[in-house]
């Protein structure tokens, strides 16, 4: 073998080495991005699983697609400051932008057919801190893990008539939700619902002490039960029509009630309620003064990501807020790119 050949061989070996280094770096990137792991539970998988058979409602949130905006204030009474140093819990009045919504991916769902109602709420304060919440009128979350949540969406969308039965067999906690959905009274108004954080969060007070909490918006209006057959006669958008009229007549109020966990209460599982007898503190009143249609409303472009929190409030060991944040971000990225399908000017909206 001539020395020329030796050189050529060693150059080739080094070129291969370079190719291997670059190839490995590219493969590591693809792996991290999830391109090599089709079974990874990604935000795309969660968001895609929501899509109804006809495809998602373009330009709308991928779930809780139908909603209506409101504005008002949060009047803090100061009692929350014993639990958290969040500036909007100090006595005062803070601007609120919110959104009443239905727990369906269908932007034109009939109001009477959707069991779950929700509210998105943003409280801001002059220093720039922002607190966003996404609450539901359920007393507990239907499932206890992200895997179960994804499986629920897949089962609900499956053609197989046994899919839901199989799902319930695997995730028996879902039976609680079924019992609630069957037995809990329906009301005729967004203003008569209690909305719950479901997830647990950590309030940190000025001395640095952490308090695991959940919170609820408890309405001033009495809940009047109405049978669903009765609601079905009220028109597809009766909830929106009703809240417009109601707020026109008088501002609607909710008390923000913070429930503090006792040691050992389950914070990591939003499907498990805390026992009675927990310390409950009224920290202020949410007052809804105006309702605005969503196409041009101030809530339209707000992502009610429950991990957008002021100082003094943080996430707990509950895995759902992080997952919701990731999936909501994906939903927001998609719908903001689809704005042309949901025109800003109400008059341009095609039914």
């Amino acid at each position: 073998m001539t020395s020329d050949q030796t050189t050529r061989r060693s150059v080739l070996a080094r070129m291969i080495l370079i190719a291997v280094v670059i190839g490995a770096a590219a493969a590591a990137f693809a792996y991290t991005a999830g391109w090599l792991s089709p079974n990874r539970l990604t935000p795309n998988a969660i968001v895609d699983a929501f899509a109804p058979p006809g495809g998602p409602a373009l330009g709308h949130r991928r779930n809780h697609a139908k909603g209506i905006c409101f504005t008002g204030v949060f009047e803090a009474n100061g009692a929350g400051s014993t639990l958290s140093s969040a500036p909007m819990l100090r006595p005062g009045e803070y601007p609120v932008i919110g959104r009443f919504n239905l727990g369906s991916p269908d932007a034109h769902v009939q109001d009477a057919t959707e069991r779950v109602r929700g509210v998105g709420l943003q409280i801001s304060e002059p220093g720039g801190e922002v607190w966003r919440m996404a609450m539901l009128d359920l007393p507990f979350f239907p499932v206890s893990t992200l895997k179960a949540f994804h499986a629920l969406q897949v089962a609900a969308g499956a053609k197989d008539p046994n899919a839901m039965k199989d799902f319930i067999a695997t995730y028996p906690e879902f039976a609680h939700f079924g019992a609630w959905a069957h037995a809990a009274p329906w009301t005729g108004s967004y203003a008569e619902e209690t909305y719950n954080s479901l997830d647990s969060f950590i309030f940190t007070d000025a001395s640095g002490t952490a308090h695991p909490v959940r919170w609820s918006l408890v309405p001033a209006a009495a809940a009047v039960p109405v049978p669903p057959e009765e609601l079905a006669k009220r028109g597809a958008d009766f909830l929106e029509e009703e809240i417009v009229q109601r707020v026109k007549t008088a501002p609607q109020q909710w008390t923000l009630v913070v429930t503090v966990a006792n040691a050992g209460d389950p914070t990591a599982d939003p499907s498990r309620t805390w026992p009675e007898g927990r310390s409950k503190i009224d920290v202020g009143t949410v007052i809804v003064r105006d309702i605005e249609p969503e196409p041009d409303g101030p809530c339209r472009d707000i992502n009610y990501d429950p991990t957008v929190l002021p100082k003094g409030i943080g996430i707990s060991d509950d895995p759902f807020p992080a997952a919701r944040s990731s999936a909501y971000r994906r939903s927001f990225d998609l719908r903001s790119a689809e704005a042309k399908y949901y025109p800003h000017t109400a008059s341009e909206t095609t039914p």
Binding site: P43, N303, R329
Partner: protein, 176 residues
């Protein structure tokens, strides 16, 4: 500016390797965080924002140092197309180091998200909330991000080419 330096200065080398570590971390944190719904999503996104701002600051510092100090000349026998490629890729690398953090920051602003870094440091919005602006910036951040990683791989391949195949001293100018 081409200086009479035989190597980059110690400050330039320190900045280069420090930023190399930050930027490589950013690529993996970036694609990792947007493909997970696990609890690590939140710390990853905070790390991504914080490192991004750190890179922006370091990139301006580095650009200033580069303009003042210059760089060692490329070997005289390096073919012209390679010289051109070296020059253009470095313009692109500097451009991306500065642009990517700004695009990301503006993208969050356009989406009406508060921009909060590690330690609760809150940055002001640098863009008004807007669907169309958010979409433009989101696409720019994603596709320039992929292009940036490809460019870094090319940069590494070229460095190894100089070190292992041409053995022309170019790698030594930036070796730690």
């Amino acid at each position: 500016m081409i200086s009479m330096l035989s190597r980059f200065t110690a400050l330039q080398r320190t900045l280069h390797w420090l930023m190399a570590a930050c930027i490589l971390t950013m690529f993996f944190v970036g694609v990792g965080m947007v493909s997970t719904v696990a609890a690590k999503y939140l710390p990853l996104i905070t790390l991504h924002k914080t490192l991004g701002v750190a890179i922006l600051v370091l990139a301006f510092l580095r650009l200033g140092v580069r303009l003042r100090t210059g760089a060692p000349a490329l070997p005289a026998d390096l073919p012209e197309p390679m010289k051109l490629a070296a020059q253009l890729s470095h313009y692109a690398l500097y451009g991306l180091m500065i642009l990517m953090p700004l695009i990301g920051w503006a993208m969050l602003s356009a989406a009406n998200y508060p921009v909060v870094l590690w330690g609760g440091v809150r940055l002001p919005a640098i863009a008004s909330p807007s669907d169309s602006l958010h979409t433009l910036l989101w696409n720019a951040h994603v596709y320039l991000g992929f292009a940036f990683y490809a460019l870094v791989l090319l940069h590494v391949a070229a460095a190894l080419f100089h070190a292992l195949i041409r053995r022309d001293g170019v790698f030594r100018t930036m070796a730690p």
